[in-house]
């Protein structure tokens, strides 16, 4: 690789990810008089990431919404303390409590920023898991419009279509990132005094997901390869109620809206017509919490009592026809009939005659890069914020906290990076050999004449994620996954891409993603295997109890010389003592 083949960029702060957390950080960095360079895999701001997909509520304690923001339908009986407690209870006591404190404290300030920038909240709703109405409903496209404007005004440069693949580091400090510019096919080196990963989750590892195409866990994987610690990787959460079919709308959450989520009391049925939630939560039935619903539905599917397209059924047929008609009349027009740009009338049958099929879809990564309250990772100069970071949500995220997460932690990362630069954090020279080596590595499969098919490996990885590392796990399933992943990893080293050109080679891009997907799934499977209990988004059929006696703990994952090292650490407790008993899952 000659020097001319590398595109080089530089700024005070390098931000990987252009949406919620990344955009928030870039705006704040620019406001503090530093230069920010935003690097995205997407085809422009607003054209990638989960932010735009959110049907979005943003959680802030109801008291502040009432008193400070004068919002309607809020309850001053709430407090930041109660919000804190709900988050920790929802996360099943393994949230890092210092991080939750900061989250609850900063939320109102960041909401204020958004209001100052012109965001118009629609209304406030009480969402599941919250003791009070805290869900400030906002339009995600409206938020994106504001971020676009603020980023443009801030003068931050955005590099688009960059597949960032590795963290550059030396002498125990981060130097920036290495990647491939898909538009030119050339290697890219982006250097800065501080580097922020705001790359979101890895939901695309699973074949059915609410997440967008490009969320393949890139940030966690490149961090892991750079020796950075991850945490809580066993907790990808699933939304229990998405279409498994038809193809165009796989992952759309209409069945959830007809059953568990909202205003319509649909029944969940298996292929025998049985209301199977009675086995899990005979009182709340379809109104049980999302984690229990996911386990209940998944068990029916696994034990061959599911629907033809791999889900279960949601039915309204227990209701009289004229009531169903009336429901369709009084529901807000967009609630069922629109989803994003879809006209859902084409996909929803006559509900007085037919059920819809429903499957849990991977929705959010609770785990990720281990951070402190100032977004530091264990590699100086490298920071993480938003969904890619771990610690806030514990084993299960409350509704609305994904949006609060990105605005609070994107901002905190910016403040922290600016403070560290002020204190003397400076550029760490980039190691030329490292760039050379990464350049060779990403090109290997382009040059290899014959070998494995990247797509075949990707298909196998996704099947393994779904069948073995899904919602209901056992030692056998997870061990099988661990072995399959070993095979996939060695096959990966022998991939030969069919298409050899470098400019926007989609096969190449997906091959680079595949490495990250393998790394992520290995972390999920291994952490799932060693957590011998059930909690939040992690359910072990062979260890079905929630063991507060032994497992109010987090698992930190680091790559060592002999593979992954998993260390069990005590959860950081500041003011809410967890239970010490062994309980039934979900109680």
């Amino acid at each position: 690789m000659s020097k001319n083949d590398v595109e080089r960029y530089q700024a005070d702060v390098v931000i990987i990810g252009s949406e919620g957390a990344g955009a928030t950080a870039a705006v704040e960095i620019a406001r503090r008089g530093l230069s920010a360079l935003v690097v995205t895999k997407g085809n422009g701001v607003g054209r990638s990431g989960a932010t735009i997909t959110g049907e979005a509520d943003l959680a802030v304690d109801s008291k502040t919404l009432h008193e400070r923001f004068k919002m309607e339908a809020c309850d001053p009986a709430d407090s930041k303390e109660t919000f804190f407690q709900d988050i920790v209870k929802g996360g099943k006591y393994i949230n890092q409590q210092d991080i939750v404190e900061a989250h609850v404290e900063d939320g109102p300030e960041r909401l204020q920023d958004l209001l100052n920038w012109g965001l118009k909240p629609l209304f406030v709703a009480k969402m599941s898991g919250h003791s009070y109405p805290r869900g400030v409903i906002v339009s995600a496209p409206e938020m994106i419009r504001i971020y676009r404007q603020k980023l443009q005004d801030s003068g931050s440069k955005v590099l688009t279509n960059i597949m960032v693949q590795e963290i550059l580091h030396g002498n125990g400090q981060c130097s920036g990132v290495f990647g491939v510019n898909m538009k030119t096919g050339k290697s890219v080196v982006v250097q800065g005094k501080a580097t922020l990963l705001a790359t979101g989750g890895g939901m695309r590892i699973y074949p059915i997901t609410t997440g967008p195409e490009e969320l393949t866990g890139d940030g966690t994987a490149m961090a892991l390869r750079a020796g950075v610690e991850l945490m809580d990787m066993e907790f990808p959460m699933f939304l229990p109620g998405c279409f498994p079919w038809p193809k165009a709308v796989i992952g759309v959450n209409t069945p959830f809206k007809l059953s568990a989520a909202g205003m319509v009391h649909g029944h969940l049925l298996n292929k025998h017509g049985e209301r199977f939630m009675a086995k899990w939560d005979p009182v709340k039935m379809e109104r049980s919490t999302r984690d229990i619903l996911a386990v209940g539905i998944w068990t029916e599917i696994m034990e061959n009592r599911g629907s033809p397209h791999g889900g279960v059924f949601v039915s309204l047929k227990h209701l009289p026809d004229n009531l169903i008609e009336y429901i369709m009349e009084w529901l807000p027009p967009k609630y069922l009939k629109r989803y994003g740009g879809f006209d859902m009338k084409k996909f929803i049958p006559d509900l007085s005659r037919q059920a819809v099929e429903s499957v849990p879809a991977c929705h959010f990564f609770n785990g990720g890069i281990k951070i402190d309250v100032d977004c530091h990772t264990n590699l100086p100069g490298l920071y993480a914020a938003g969904e890619v970071a771990a610690g806030i949500h514990g084993s299960n995220r409350l509704s609305g906290n994904a949006f609060t997460d990105m605005i609070v932690w994107g901002h905190r990362a910016a403040v922290s990076m600016a403070a560290d630069i002020e204190k003397g954090l400076s550029e760490n020279p980039v190691d030329g050999d490292q760039i050379e080596a990464y350049g060779r590595e990403v090109s290997e499969a382009l040059e290899r004449k014959s070998g494995e098919s990247s797509q075949a490996l990707r298909d196998r990885l996704m099947q393994t994620a779904w069948n073995n590392v899904g919602i209901v796990r056992t030692q056998g399933l997870l061990e099988q996954a661990r072995d399959t992943l070993q095979e996939l990893r060695s096959a990966y080293g022998n991939v030969a891409l069919a298409f050899k050109e470098r400019i926007y080679n989609r096969e190449w891009l997906r091959y680079l993603e595949l490495r990250n997907m393998i790394d992520n799934l290995e972390c999920i499977a291994r952490a799932g295997l060693s957590r011998q209990e059930s909690r939040g988004a992690h359910y072990r059929k062979d260890f079905a109890k929630t063991d507060h006696k032994n497992w109010v703990a987090n698992q930190v994952i680091k790559r060592g010389k002999d593979g992954l090292q998993i260390t069990k650490i005590k959860t950081k407790i500041t003011r809410m003592d967890p239970p010490t008993t062994i309980e039934n899952y979900g109680t």
Binding site: S48, I52, L151, N161, P212, E213, P246, G341, K346, Y504
Partner: protein, 107 residues
């Protein structure tokens, strides 16, 4: 659409920056009820011709990243349902990168 074996013909304009409008390729794709143009592209790119370039992100008609020309009209690949044979071309409002991928700029 070929009713007998239930496939559709999908004609796609190919090209790369500096060598735009390099002609069309036609693919036969199995038809399914309520599949989107994006599902068709995914099938071709993953299983028929890995050199095909296209971009998509949200798959639900919000990010607008998959804008392209479908039978001569500007559409989103993800929310446009397939009813029969297709002609797919890049959105020529933007500079071409490859095939259906265009450079939409930073914002």
């Amino acid at each position: 659409m070929d009713q007998d074996n239930n496939t559709i013909n999908v004609k796609i304009e190919r090209g790369v920056r500096g060598k735009e409008e390099s002609g069309y390729d036609t693919f036969q794709v199995p038809f399914e009820e309520k599949m989107s143009v994006f599902n068709v592209l995914e099938h071709i790119g993953n299983y028929l011709d890995p050199s095909l370039a296209f971009y998509a992100s949200c798959r639900i008609g919000k990010c607008m990243g998959c804008t392209l020309m479908v039978n001569g009209k500007r559409r989103l690949a993800c929310t446009t349902l397939v009813e029969g044979d297709l002609v797919l071309e890049p959105d020529k409002k933007y500079p071409l990168v490859r095939d259906l991928v265009v450079d939409m700029g930073e914002y």
